[in-house]
Symmetry: D3
Subunit: 329 residues, 6 copies
Amino acid sequence: MSKIIGNNLPDMPWQEKPAGEHMPVWRYDQNPIIGRYEQKRSNSIFNSAVVPFEDGYVGVFRCDSRSISMDIFVGRSKDGIHWEIEDEPIKFEGADEEILTREYRYDPRVCKIDDKYYVTWCNGYHGPTIGVAYTYDFKKFVQLENAFLPFNRNGVLFPRKINGYYMMMSRPSDNGHTPFGDIFVSQSKDMEFWGRHRHMMSPVRGDESAWQCTKIGAGPVPIETDEGWLLIYHGVITTCNGYVYRMGCALLDIDEPWKVKYRTKDYIMAPITQYECMGDVPNVVFPCATLSDAATGRITIYYGCADTVTGMAFTTVDELLNYVKENSL
Amino acid sequence: MSKIIGNNLPDMPWQEKPAGEHMPVWRYDQNPIIGRYEQKRSNSIFNSAVVPFEDGYVGVFRCDSRSISMDIFVGRSKDGIHWEIEDEPIKFEGADEEILTREYRYDPRVCKIDDKYYVTWCNGYHGPTIGVAYTYDFKKFVQLENAFLPFNRNGVLFPRKINGYYMMMSRPSDNGHTPFGDIFVSQSKDMEFWGRHRHMMSPVRGDESAWQCTKIGAGPVPIETDEGWLLIYHGVITTCNGYVYRMGCALLDIDEPWKVKYRTKDYIMAPITQYECMGDVPNVVFPCATLSDAATGRITIYYGCADTVTGMAFTTVDELLNYVKENSL
Amino acid sequence: MSKIIGNNLPDMPWQEKPAGEHMPVWRYDQNPIIGRYEQKRSNSIFNSAVVPFEDGYVGVFRCDSRSISMDIFVGRSKDGIHWEIEDEPIKFEGADEEILTREYRYDPRVCKIDDKYYVTWCNGYHGPTIGVAYTYDFKKFVQLENAFLPFNRNGVLFPRKINGYYMMMSRPSDNGHTPFGDIFVSQSKDMEFWGRHRHMMSPVRGDESAWQCTKIGAGPVPIETDEGWLLIYHGVITTCNGYVYRMGCALLDIDEPWKVKYRTKDYIMAPITQYECMGDVPNVVFPCATLSDAATGRITIYYGCADTVTGMAFTTVDELLNYVKENSL
Amino acid sequence: MSKIIGNNLPDMPWQEKPAGEHMPVWRYDQNPIIGRYEQKRSNSIFNSAVVPFEDGYVGVFRCDSRSISMDIFVGRSKDGIHWEIEDEPIKFEGADEEILTREYRYDPRVCKIDDKYYVTWCNGYHGPTIGVAYTYDFKKFVQLENAFLPFNRNGVLFPRKINGYYMMMSRPSDNGHTPFGDIFVSQSKDMEFWGRHRHMMSPVRGDESAWQCTKIGAGPVPIETDEGWLLIYHGVITTCNGYVYRMGCALLDIDEPWKVKYRTKDYIMAPITQYECMGDVPNVVFPCATLSDAATGRITIYYGCADTVTGMAFTTVDELLNYVKENSL
Amino acid sequence: MSKIIGNNLPDMPWQEKPAGEHMPVWRYDQNPIIGRYEQKRSNSIFNSAVVPFEDGYVGVFRCDSRSISMDIFVGRSKDGIHWEIEDEPIKFEGADEEILTREYRYDPRVCKIDDKYYVTWCNGYHGPTIGVAYTYDFKKFVQLENAFLPFNRNGVLFPRKINGYYMMMSRPSDNGHTPFGDIFVSQSKDMEFWGRHRHMMSPVRGDESAWQCTKIGAGPVPIETDEGWLLIYHGVITTCNGYVYRMGCALLDIDEPWKVKYRTKDYIMAPITQYECMGDVPNVVFPCATLSDAATGRITIYYGCADTVTGMAFTTVDELLNYVKENSL
Amino acid sequence: MSKIIGNNLPDMPWQEKPAGEHMPVWRYDQNPIIGRYEQKRSNSIFNSAVVPFEDGYVGVFRCDSRSISMDIFVGRSKDGIHWEIEDEPIKFEGADEEILTREYRYDPRVCKIDDKYYVTWCNGYHGPTIGVAYTYDFKKFVQLENAFLPFNRNGVLFPRKINGYYMMMSRPSDNGHTPFGDIFVSQSKDMEFWGRHRHMMSPVRGDESAWQCTKIGAGPVPIETDEGWLLIYHGVITTCNGYVYRMGCALLDIDEPWKVKYRTKDYIMAPITQYECMGDVPNVVFPCATLSDAATGRITIYYGCADTVTGMAFTTVDELLNYVKENSL
């Protein structure tokens, strides 16, 4: 029995594993939880980040508008399932107009460190890079410097300092539909200057684990366990008809998280339902956030479906750790 | 209140806007109106052109055969919804065997000017160009010279001479799946020699209106209004899994139609139903014809779905003009 | 009335042609017969080969694992519809460890010649080539030398020697998603050394038969008829959103099978159902095996659907021969 | 003995064929005649057009500046060999500011028809197309409408009306380094509206004449002879290290010049000297103009070398006609 | 008259501007100064960095071996022209084996700040990034952390802290022959953690300054002048036969060096000699280092030629500043 | 001291190693020995095969015609340096018109086995494959079956049976400028049916030996030595400006020649002269034949230069074996 190091969240959304289910992750039976047109001007609402907040939940949502402009919005929910998303995108404050100038924003993650909620996202600054901001109340957001030079995507913070450093995963990219991509960990004393970049893991070439042969990227903020950091990530294969995005997980060393102790050879979830296989980008499941309950080990995953709608799925820390150990590369 | 300049067509297909619909265009609830196998040898029936004729409707239909040979066929309907399509493609007459020789034909539009019905289509002549023909009765079709040199697609006439010139929009292309494309207007005194080519509009790079960032092309014959020409067009974005075709509209200057007064930043319709997202080319809505009723301002759009079947959608001149003005680039 | 030269198989799976069906091949109404998760660790079960064996049926199945590792497995069925697939992939014996070393294996065919069941498949050996093995009992499999140098796919044997030679069709390829491909016939006296390579047929460029304009490949083992070898094959077109795989057939000279007597201009089957159009690779029907009954001329086709699940379809020798003669290129 | 239909030009640059020369075209022994830095701000001076004028010669020269901006300039020479090129590019006058607005200009040809000297060039107007202007004196240039829609290059006029129509060759292209390209002929009554487009000739696929397998384009203004129009053109092959541009010639029907009577299978000139093989674009000979002397049948060719400097070469009408007849495709 | 802020270097290599030279930079008349085979195992010696040291000069040289392995070597010279290059590449010391592990090293720059000589280079660490080391004596080199995540090239330091920060230019890239690339400036307090990334300048699209339309990259360490930082950089255009690398310069704000005051529209030097146009990569001039003499304003540029040999060229601060002001974008 | 197993050839072309030469292979000082225009209709004469014959030498030469048609021709020489090449290409006799039909022929090798001279070449048969023929007298050539299916190039025989089998190296390819390629060995009892294909060696990815990172291919017929087969081969790297072809060598096991005992990490020869770096395909040295003298160990290499002319270079068995052992991968 593994343990999540964290808070209890007894009322978070949850469904038991269905009888006969042989996969370690199972879907919410009312998926998708957020439809494409549920925000005032949205074309799609998908890769989105959720955290517990006050007596309910708050999230930062990627809503592509009907002009297919990508931006991020605050949403609120009592139960984590039914969401009210604001009509206007987040407005950031900050020191330098150069950094505040919006090109585009997408694929947010939210990470609570001490009393701040940090938002990281793919931020356009002469190419995609990692934008960073913090908020206490999801009303005022202070934008810091971009963490890295372009081209980068999938910047995900660890939820506490490790050996005195903030740590962020990211996936260096190019300026298009990037047919490659490894995960690195970078370190910072102050959330402004980053260095000590360490390579964490690469795609797997060849037949051994081909679902993650084109590129990989960190998903939700890692979950601390007594065995290490539990990371859920996405992997991509290139078929003759395009990319397929699936989910895997890894267990990282607790002190040097770029050291991978276990990593799934088999995926933990793949696009198979109509809402995952049909949409603006077919065949995508893309996890961006989890809720977890330390008492029971339950984990609820929020994930984007076909770059169009938002789904929810469930697992437990034991399911994932057993699976990754039995299926490790 | 804007006005359509044209005929009344009180019995054309129509459904009121559903309650709760927030988009300016809504689908016929019995879509698709023409299935893929409804013609003798068809694989698919999609980008097709419809006009009122005698006491009903007539159309020129793109039917790809089961050998995936592209040709155009006459179809007839009493109500604009149920169609009988001929088994044999249109046979053209004309002056020069060189021009009459068929390579392939697709994506027809029909435009009534005075007493002639002009058909324009993408015509293979050592590359795709714009074929032109006319008919009085949809039985005898006289083919004229190709309007332009290859490579060109989406040739769409204006329904009357403007300042003494026939005018045709077109979208210069290459010889493949063209990842670029602007709309131009060309002019002719005689439907044979064309010149005075003017650039009308380009794709929109970047985040501002990304659904139309790869290429655009004119759709149905423009509708004359008291505020200018109302043009419905398609726009394309390139995702990692291919193209998505959506619809927008623009209001053009009545005398110099290459001057764009308003143009939609947000799309007016996108592929979201199963018959638009699943088929030979997923994620395509492609408008080729409208019917309109001057008395009520109603507009019925015929559009191809997933390059496989034919759908119908509804709007009004006020819906579109209000939308384009509020959402203009 | 044409005749199949072969055994009777009166109990093989069969459904009569539905009223109103205008295509020469029709689907089993309970398709798909094998789902993606029906084997212990499978992600998908699709391009698979079936033969009558003892009092039922046996098959060699392509099961991609949840790590998307491609391998081939034995399955058994009483009725040809309900299948039990083994948990472990086929283990091959043979003379040379170099050849036995597995890189990847996929798209098997099974061909009975005399008393041996030969399995051919796409075999990784520094690139894809054609692996060859035989079995008497589907328990012990002896692997022979690879038939050809890389890069090759779709190696399909004829079910008897012709003029003293074993004959195998194949489709020379490259090391990726090969955007070209012709079918050749190669000859061997001993199943080990191959030569006398003859070109059989090419894709069809242009509008004449565009569904097979990108590449083609042999499907099931050819069926001997009194008019020649009946070959079912796949053809591929490249749309702006990827490949579409359809089925055609050809009638080959009985003694020089690289000579094509008739070949379908129109396809005989195309992906149109949800299980063929949605999946890991949308828009694929890929035939790999048939059962046939000489007494009635019935033919049952096993085919992969969307590279995800396995379907079954029906036709007769008369349906196909009439169709190919009326529709020949 | 063939005859040039045209003027005598006894003093034009000329050198006799060297002993031992086995090619039908031979180089000026002082090549290149114009170096890359011979104009005030030029980086290169190459694809350029020359005509007899008054008591000497005048030309329109492509000079790429040291910012690699492409524009066209007037040059003057007493002997056709030593040139003075103006410091400022040609300034055009004309009716419509939209057409006069310069994007870029390159690869000019000059064609005298009656008393006007027409200049055609590759003109940027939302893509490359064919600019047209005329001058009487090479001081005032009146720009007409662009002949065609983009994308087009290598627009070359015939030096008189044929059957009452101006005729222009061109090579439809795409918006990049175009890996394809056929020559067409278009017709006009007024130099403004163009139509009756006819296909003249295509690249030659395969081994038969591979130097012209990628694309071809008209070179100098055709030379009228008693056997038809003599056209010198360029052809391009794609090697693993880029394009190689060579020269060929064709004899066209005098009344329907899109009908090719003879066309060289073997090239007439290829890049082999250092100034043709080394430069901004290695391995290019690109002919844009000729001078010819009816009395002797002599022809002097001006051609661009490696997109960097200008060369001169010599031949005769008999050399070319004999060669094209003996080597015809 | 502008002034270089820096040391006098009266004996550095120098030749006066030749009579008739109209370019602002002129070549050493004995170029190349270092041939391809002048080091024990070298295939080529080109993009290399030189500084004054003790009573002569020292440099860090890119020598590609005859296995085309890229590494960097120390060289020494009395006169800056004749060089002795060590047989063995630089061996770095440092804190972390992970960082010290060599994948490949190329394109070094050397920058003296205070009493340390910093070397920056393109360093393979799961993709190209910027390696950083320092030395006092060119014998012992201490390697620091890589400055950035991959993919990056052309990391060039400023020769002093600015407003308390070390500053480094770099050019984010992809993992191949990168067909794009802007220059950014990044800041650091400690040479280990970097941030406050600012965009400096982009390639210039279109006809305005096409020699730098594909990508640009910083060249030598900037030269401080009384008008700002003088930066020499390279720019690349893509022709149909590959890339051409040329040189330009810019004047940067002295305190916020990402602000560009002037930037050359015309290049200052282009490959035109045989040793620049013929070699392993034809048509490349690539500047990596300068020597300068404050007293006279003289500047000597070391540059790679055709990725094969090393050349030297001369200019003055006045030549460049006058040129950039007169030719500014 | 190693020994060549073979005949003495005391009068073969030879020059001693120049003083100061540090490479193991040195050029003939009168290179090139055959110019591009030395055959009646040739554009280029390059990748060509030479053997001793009667009292002099005979060769099979690749001559691309001035139409750039690729074919192979017999040439004769008294001294191995001065050659007379026939005007007409080789006409083959044989059993099957299908095989005899010429598409294109290039890159011949000649291998004497017993009393026959076998010619192998790249032969067009619905794609490039390996043509095989034999002659006794270089007058009558009997063409056998193609050895393999397309796509293949660089088929090179071993000069005797090994363990009872003819053995041929080849390099499976695709249908274009193939950016990959390994060497395999195939076996045959009868020169007609081939099998037992074994992988010999691959390109070397990464920095270790990048000159051979894109593809490799066998060069001349291997030379038997007392230490194994000495193979000279070519290797290719992809620069931003195209391919560079260099030469290396390997020592193969005498009985199982797919087993590589040593292989050069450093190249043995690279294009550096003008006739190797300038021509139809710059930067190519491509070896196709050697002469060797067992008594002295001398080896003379014939190689193509820039796909344009033919050069000769010298080495000895000791030079190569010492080099490959000291430089082995």
